[in-house]
């Protein structure tokens, strides 16, 4: 026989436990990032970054992991995220959809960012120096990274188109979407795909730290540079936290110093020497290409 008291008690308990996530604190600065790499790496990087921000700004900072690019953009639009580390394309998408949002900063490497094309060594395709050489990729099994990635899809597709290669020229008349830069390397390395394109930074990191993962892969081509990742913040932070908060936030990020040991740890995780100023006009070209490839409507 079921006891009424027990039933009620369990029920109340369940309800109170389950409904806790429904009441969130609004005085927390929520930091997010596009999931372009292994979640473990991102977790470490942004938790450390959040801790430093919290220390310097004196507010609670929480890192909210996001599983896909679109969720990051939407989370920013709906103001679930206050400060987000976006790629070029996702940053432009988010900014166009969120009035008053502000470009805060970029890394030193982001103003001359590059993608790399990689091929499986078994194919014995030699590297090229001219964009026209991309024609060699015709009829191969090719994979991009995430669909909304700037360095893993948008710019590579733009350069492929420039060399007169369309997606339908690949084997199977389609290209794959691995989901992340690391996955692209793993797929090409295993031979599941013949070739792929990804972020140059991630490629170099893997070459240096994970030689096993890249042993069957060789570099095919490095693209010309373009603007990529940047921090984007909501326009209402001053109102929510305190006057001049956005300015403080900006200078905190810009003043991360590689001489300082704890700062250096963070900067290393971002693969940067320092953060530098970023402006809206830097991303005009990305916007144009995004519109051309119909990723921005």
């Amino acid at each position: 026989m079921i006891n009424i008291k027990n039933c009620l008690f369990t029920y109340t308990l369940f309800f109170s436990i389950f409904s806790t996530p429904l009441f969130a604190n609004i005085k927390v600065l929520k930091v997010g990032a596009i999931p372009d790499q292994n979640q473990n790496i991102l977790d470490k990087r942004f938790k450390l970054f959040s801790k430093e921000l919290s220390k310097q700004l004196g507010v609670d900072v929480k890192y909210v992991p996001v599983i896909n690019y679109v969720a990051a953009v939407t989370g920013f639009r709906t103001k679930d995220l206050d400060l987000v580390w976006f790629g070029g394309l996702s940053g432009v998408q988010a900014r166009l959809q969120t009035p008053n949002s502000l470009v805060i900063a970029q890394r030193d490497i982001d103003k001359e960012f590059k993608s790399v094309f990689i091929v499986n060594k078994k194919l014995k395709i030699s590297p090229i120096s001219n964009i026209k050489g991309l024609k060699k990729l015709k009829n191969l099994r090719f994979t991009f990274g995430s669909e909304n990635s700037t360095s893993g899809r948008l710019m590579p597709e733009y350069f492929l188109n420039k060399a007169n290669i369309e997606i339908k020229d690949f084997k199977g008349k389609k290209a794959g979407f691995s989901g992340s830069h690391d996955a692209t390397i793993a797929l090409v390395n295993s031979g599941a795909f013949d070739a792929g394109a990804l972020n140059k930074q991630v490629w170099e990191n893997n070459l240096k730290n994970q030689p096993k993962r890249t042993k069957n892969v060789s570099l095919f081509w490095i693209t010309p540079d373009y603007f990529d990742y940047h921090w984007l913040a909501q326009g209402n932070l001053d109102k929510r936290f305190r006057k001049g908060f956005t300015k403080e936030l900006k200078s905190t990020i810009l003043n991360l110093d590689s001489e300082n040991l704890s700062h250096k740890k963070i900067l290393d995780m971002f693969n940067a020497e320092k953060f530098i100023k970023a402006e809206v006009k830097h991303y005009k070209k990305i916007e144009e290409i995004g519109r051309k490839l119909k990723k921005i409507r």
Partner: protein, 500 residues
């Protein structure tokens, strides 16, 4: 050679023929580049990663999954009852309401039922962003509609006799109505309600794969990082979780409840639900008003869909669901029939269990390492996953069946395979086909899941349009999806009636 006669048994086997074109397309695209990844994947099945850190994550993630499942189940059952009553003819008979409302509610429920919870989730995520409640709402919407259909169907079996008897008393309309429906609703809940909790758990895992948190998210992330050992830790813990919850659900019995207690419990349920519901309303409208302007501007985005391409996507989706249904129908009896001995049966059961356990998105990603993204591959994935489910049902029915015919045939010297076919399966075929017809409703909706990842059909287009924030396209795709599912359901209803 004699002509093949069309009966339920042969119909269960004929669809296996789709494997010929499927195998052709898969074979010409086959490559062995993924062998190494696959080997690692298989080794990890028996070698999952176990340490303190991962166990804490597992518990945390399973808890999230359970929270989403439990809440969505609770809400969808309660509202399922409410909408079930509203969409049953008996309600309109007693209260003398115009049948017009009846058709409107039915139509409305059919539409929201026709779209898979994953699609609701993806669309809602675009509008409201990442939020704990989105997963619950996404599951609730189609579940309320499905539950209400079941409850309504049960209520419509109330006989005219009892209806007439009650109305002749001329008691208050509401109490006579309650008297009529009470037992039906309680019985339906007993038979069907808890089963839906299991479905809700599966759905919340699946939503997790698309970024809504819980164990699904862990599965997806570890797979994306090709960390197979971690992946299997999550998959096995999910399996244990599902088996445990099924056992617990089986143990729960409502027979001992007396009436006062059940009324009391119902009242508690309703109050909680009202609170929860008011929160959701607050949530939806609150955030709706905050950025209504920005959503509005999104709708200005143009549609770039070309009619012919769009038609092709629709046809792809239809073929995808037909092919996967064919595999789900024919593969289990085919394989069980051919490998009809004890060792193979155990092996098949284990394989079927794995196919049910591995979510289709992960399955297709594994297969993709051997093949190009194609319609056949997506159909194979979806077909295999569902064959895992239909074979479980077939096994259960075969086990509980009277084996005398089979033994008699075998002792007459008929071969093992033939006696299995004629002595065991032929008696099952009809009910098996009826279940498959029901399953194919679900398969049509599930094409969205493999479509998104296997880059086939409307699912792929939906993902592309969503990630470009092209709302007009999204709406066009949704309408197409919904129409296919509704037409499919109509056809299936015809098949089901002819089978029963």
């Amino acid at each position: 050679m004699r002509k093949l006669k069309l009966n339920h048994t042969s119909i269960s086997f004929i669809p296996i023929l789709v494997c010929i074109p499927l195998a052709y397309q898969i074979l010409i695209n086959l490559n062995f580049g993924g062998v190494e990844l696959f080997r690692e994947f298989i080794i990890s099945v028996f070698h999952p990663e176990i340490n303190n850190e991962i166990i804490i994550t597992v518990v945390k993630r399973l808890n999230q999954t359970l929270v989403i499942a439990f809440f969505s189940w609770l809400i969808s059952i309660i509202f399922g009852v409410i909408f079930g009553i509203l969409s049953s003819n008996i309600f309109y008979k007693i209260f003398n309401l115009p049948v017009f409302f009846y058709s409107i509610i039915k139509f409305f429920l059919t539409i929201i039922r026709s779209i898979h919870e994953i699609i609701w989730g993806l669309v809602l995520m675009q509008i409201y962003g990442i939020n704990f409640s989105i997963g619950i709402i996404a599951i609730c919407i189609p579940y309320i509609a499905v539950n209400s259909k079941v409850f309504a169907e049960q209520l419509e079996t109330i006989e005219d006799k009892s209806f007439d008897a009650i109305t002749q008393i001329h008691g208050p309309k509401f109490s006579s109505f309650l008297t009529l429906i009470w037992n039906r609703i309680v019985n339906t809940f007993k038979n069907f309600g808890l089963y839906r909790l299991e479905c809700a758990i599966r759905s919340s895992v699946m939503l997790g794969l698309f970024g809504f948190g819980g164990i699904g998210t862990s599965i997806f992330l570890s797979f994306q990082a090709f960390n197979f050992r971690e992946l299997w830790t999550y998959l096995w813990s999910l399996a244990i979780f599902i088996i445990l919850s099924r056992e617990i659900i089986k143990k729960i019995k409502f027979n001992k409840l007396n009436k006062n207690l059940s009324i009391f419990l119902t009242a508690v349920f309703f109050i909680t639900i009202l609170f929860t519901f008011s929160y959701f309303l607050y949530f939806i409208f609150n955030s709706m008003f905050v950025d209504f302007y920005s959503i509005n501007s999104l709708f200005k985005s143009g549609s770039e869909l070309v009619f012919l391409d769009f038609l092709k996507l629709i046809i792809d989706t239809i073929i995808l669901s037909l092919f996967s249904t064919a595999i789900a129908i024919s593969l289990p009896p085919f394989v069980i029939g051919i490998f009809n001995n004890n060792t193979s049966t155990i092996l098949i059961r284990f394989l079927a269990f794995l196919l049910r356990l591995i979510p289709p998105p992960v399955l297709i990603l594994i297969l993709l390492t051997f093949n190009n993204p194609s319609l056949s591959l997506a159909a194979l994935t979806l077909g295999l996953h569902n064959a895992g489910i239909t074979s479980k049902l077939l096994f259960t029915n075969l086990d509980s069946q009277d084996k005398r015919n089979y033994i008699a045939l075998k002792s007459l010297g008929t071969s093992k395979k033939t006696s299995w076919l004629l002595g065991l399966f032929s008696q099952q075929a009809k009910s098996y086909l009826a279940y498959c017809a029901y399953r194919s409703d679900i398969i049509i909706r599930e094409t969205a899941i493999v479509g998104v990842i296997g880059s086939v059909g409307l699912g792929w287009q939906l993902q592309e349009s969503l990630s470009s924030f092209a709302w007009q396209e999204v709406i066009t795709v949704l309408i197409a999806y919904s129409s296919i599912a509704i037409v499919g359901e109509l056809i299936n209803d015809k098949i089901k009636t002819s089978l029963t």
